[in-house]
């Protein structure tokens, strides 16, 4: 069982930057056809200072967390985990080259079906290099036991 004592746990804050090349790769991998997501000139012509991070890309930057030790501490077994929910609340755009700060906390832990399914809710606040609030992410991971 994932111990509920971890509710409220703050993970170590980290910084992450989306490189333009990584955004172009993401555009290719998702079949993106809108050039503002892979062509800097098209992005600027549309009034963006650089390539914008598409709506779900902040989730990708969260993988840059320097250590996944928190998963072991909680008792998360990667092979048994499914993604249950994901949501974003946006406050401003983020762009290639921005230095984004990720403050992550374990917001909730609960189980259903007598522990057969365990849920870990992670909430992340993202701010940019100017200290401006970019977005809030909420992820629900589901661990299948037995």
């Amino acid at each position: 069982m994932i111990d509920k004592k971890h509710i409220g746990k703050q993970l170590p804050t980290f910084l992450a930057t989306a490189e333009a090349g990584q955004l172009r790769f993401f555009a290719k991998a998702t079949g993106e056809t809108n050039p503002i997501y892979f062509d800097e000139q098209a992005a600027r012509d549309a009034g963006h200072p650089n390539l914008p991070l598409p709506p779900t890309f902040l989730f990708s930057l969260e993988f840059q967390i320097p250590s996944n030790a928190w998963r072991d501490e909680l008792g998360i077994v990667t092979a048994r985990v499914l993604h249950g929910e994901e949501s974003f609340r946006y406050h401003r755009m983020a762009y290639a080259g921005d230095t984004l700060r990720f403050d992550v906390r374990i917001a909730d832990i609960y189980d259903k079906k007598g522990g057969a399914l365990e849920f870990v809710v992670r909430e992340t606040r993202v701010t940019n290099q100017h200290g401006e609030h970019v977005a809030d992410l909420r992820s629900v991971l589901v661990q299948r036991n037995g």
Partner: protein, 138 residues
């Protein structure tokens, strides 16, 4: 790219759907690299079988990225205020996903006119895999 006339949007209106090619192993390998999600369950069949799955399967966030495309081909991303989904079913190899959306509500919040759009992904068998909604400022 913002050809949609936001002022005239009505509740019940559908977004232009987005149809994707069938998911294959290359799709998943590319998305693993591009998204930073290197979980072997999406790219290594041996690992997926040991974990009790029949084969590798699509990242939930790949489908959410497709839904993101559905939204941003319709409105400018700068108008997007909220976007959330629930993953209901697994998207398997060979599934041809279509993303759809419908305007379900029009309201005012934080001094803005906003709409709520219900979105979902469905495969070629009519099975819904992801449902969610997005809030867009007009």
């Amino acid at each position: 790219m913002n050809a949609t006339c936001l002022e005239t949007i009505k509740v019940g209106e559908s977004l232009p759907p987005l149809a994707l090619p069938a998911i294959n192993r290359t799709t998943l390998a590319l998305f693993a690299g591009a998204s930073g999600d290197h979980n072997a369950i999406h790219i290594d069949t041996d690992y997926a079988r040991k974990a009790g799955m029949a084969d590798v399967f699509a990242h939930g966030m790949l489908s959410m990225a497709y839904l993101g495309r559905l939204l941003t081909q319709w409105v400018d991303q700068r108008q997007l205020r909220e976007f959330g989904v629930r993953f209901l079913g697994i998207t398997h190899l060979g599934h041809q996903i279509t993303c759809t959306g419908t305007v379900i509500e029009r309201f005012e919040a934080q001094g803005e006119q906003r709409i709520k759009v219900e979105v979902s992904t469905t495969n070629q068998y009519g099975e819904t895999k992801i449902v969610g909604d997005a809030v867009i400022a007009l």
